[in-house]
């Protein structure tokens, strides 16, 4: 069912109590800013923009050095695309559970939010486990960080992405813990939204890595 909030122009409206009407559910969660926007959310978007540049550099480096390794193992003989496809599905699914957690807290369903946040963290752990297995397999096949240009750029790029996922899992679990302690309610849904922005960013970076690194042939 669509969420239908009440729009109130705070500056122009006379006090509703004076008209005999009950006050609407109005929460001024953040202090007034020159942009009229919550600075925490704007800060998160600025951070994500800077992270875009960070991953942009890593991806550019990988692409430049892609076919310049003098000896193997090379991407074509290393990657297991069906296996990585499952990891991509897992991360996409975690984005869905994350946004469902946000929808739940925005509607005041705290227990449901905890379930979806926990599911998101679990899917993140599954992704990390898959990445650990993949790295271990590559290592056994002779591909290490210092083996060749492909190994150096691949492990740096996907390793930093995995680190982002790990931080995201920790963040999500801390939100679940806050909620269990009764410190995360509907009026604090912005915290879930900001964590969600970070998590979705991790997902879109993987969308690019999956295509540029794994699917596009040498």
């Amino acid at each position: 069912m669509a969420h239908a909030p009440v729009v109130v122009d705070v500056a122009a409206s006379p006090p509703l109590e004076a008209l005999g009407a009950p006050p609407p559910p109005l929460v001024l969660e953040h202090p007034h800013t020159s942009t009229g926007l919550d600075s925490r959310k704007l800060l998160m978007w600025a951070f994500l923009a800077s992270d875009c540049m960070f991953f942009g550099m890593l991806i550019a480096t990988y692409m430049v050095y892609k076919n310049r390794s003098l000896d193997g193992p090379l991407p074509r003989e290393t990657f297991d695309v069906p296996y990585t496809s499952v990891s991509a599905f897992v991360l996409l699914l975690s984005s869905l559970t994350m946004v469902l957690a946000l929808a739940a807290i925005q509607h005041g369903h705290e227990r449901r939010m905890r379930v979806w946040l926990s599911a998101t963290a679990l899917l993140g752990c599954v992704f990390l486990g898959g990445q650990f297995y993949e790295f271990t397999t590559f290592y056994k096949d002779g591909l290490t960080l210092s083996r060749n240009l492909f190994g150096s750029t691949f492990f740096t790029l996907t390793g930093f992405h995995g680190t982002h996922v790990f931080i995201g899992v920790f963040w999500l679990l801390s939100l679940v813990a806050q909620s269990v302690r009764g410190r995360l309610h509907q009026e604090h849904s912005l915290w879930v939204e900001i964590a969600g922005l970070y998590w979705h960013f991790v997902d879109i970076v993987w969308i690019l890595i999956f295509t540029l690194v794994y699917l596009i042939p040498d």
């Binding site: 239908a4 500056a11 109005l26 550019a60 912005l190 939204e193 969600g196 997902d203 879109i204």
Partner: protein, 113 residues
């Protein structure tokens, strides 16, 4: 001197300029994203698509990227300033990748002379 600007929120503390989609819409988008990923993997395994594989994969990836950013990250519904901030970072990243590819010869070079 800053102008006082009140922003009305619902009980969840969210600005009310545009309401976010509901769980049903999110789920439909999730299914669409999964289908696009399936198409990507299918295209990867088709020999007859090899000549056009790169543009196909890049297009599908761009659609997935825009869908997640637009709907799950709510850039389609939120204040345009968020889009401007994120778009700037994205444009810089894209420019760096493109410039590096040209500089280091991953794209065909124009003939000399």
């Amino acid at each position: 001197m800053s102008t006082e600007h009140h922003v009305a929120h619902d009980a969840g503390g969210h600005e009310l300029e545009h309401a976010h989609p509901g769980p049903r819409t999110y789920t439909i988008i999730g299914v669409i994203l999964a289908v696009i990923t399936l198409i990507e993997v299918w295209a990867y395994n088709q020999a007859f698509l090899r000549p056009a594989l790169v543009p196909i994969l890049l297009s599908l990836s761009a659609v997935k990227f825009a869908t997640v950013v637009g709907f799950y990250m709510h850039l389609r519904f939120d204040n345009p300033l968020f889009l401007a901030v994120f778009g700037f970072g994205l444009a810089v990243a894209g420019s760096v990748i493109t410039a590096f590819m040209f500089l280091f010869g991953q794209y065909p070079q124009p003939p000399h002379g």
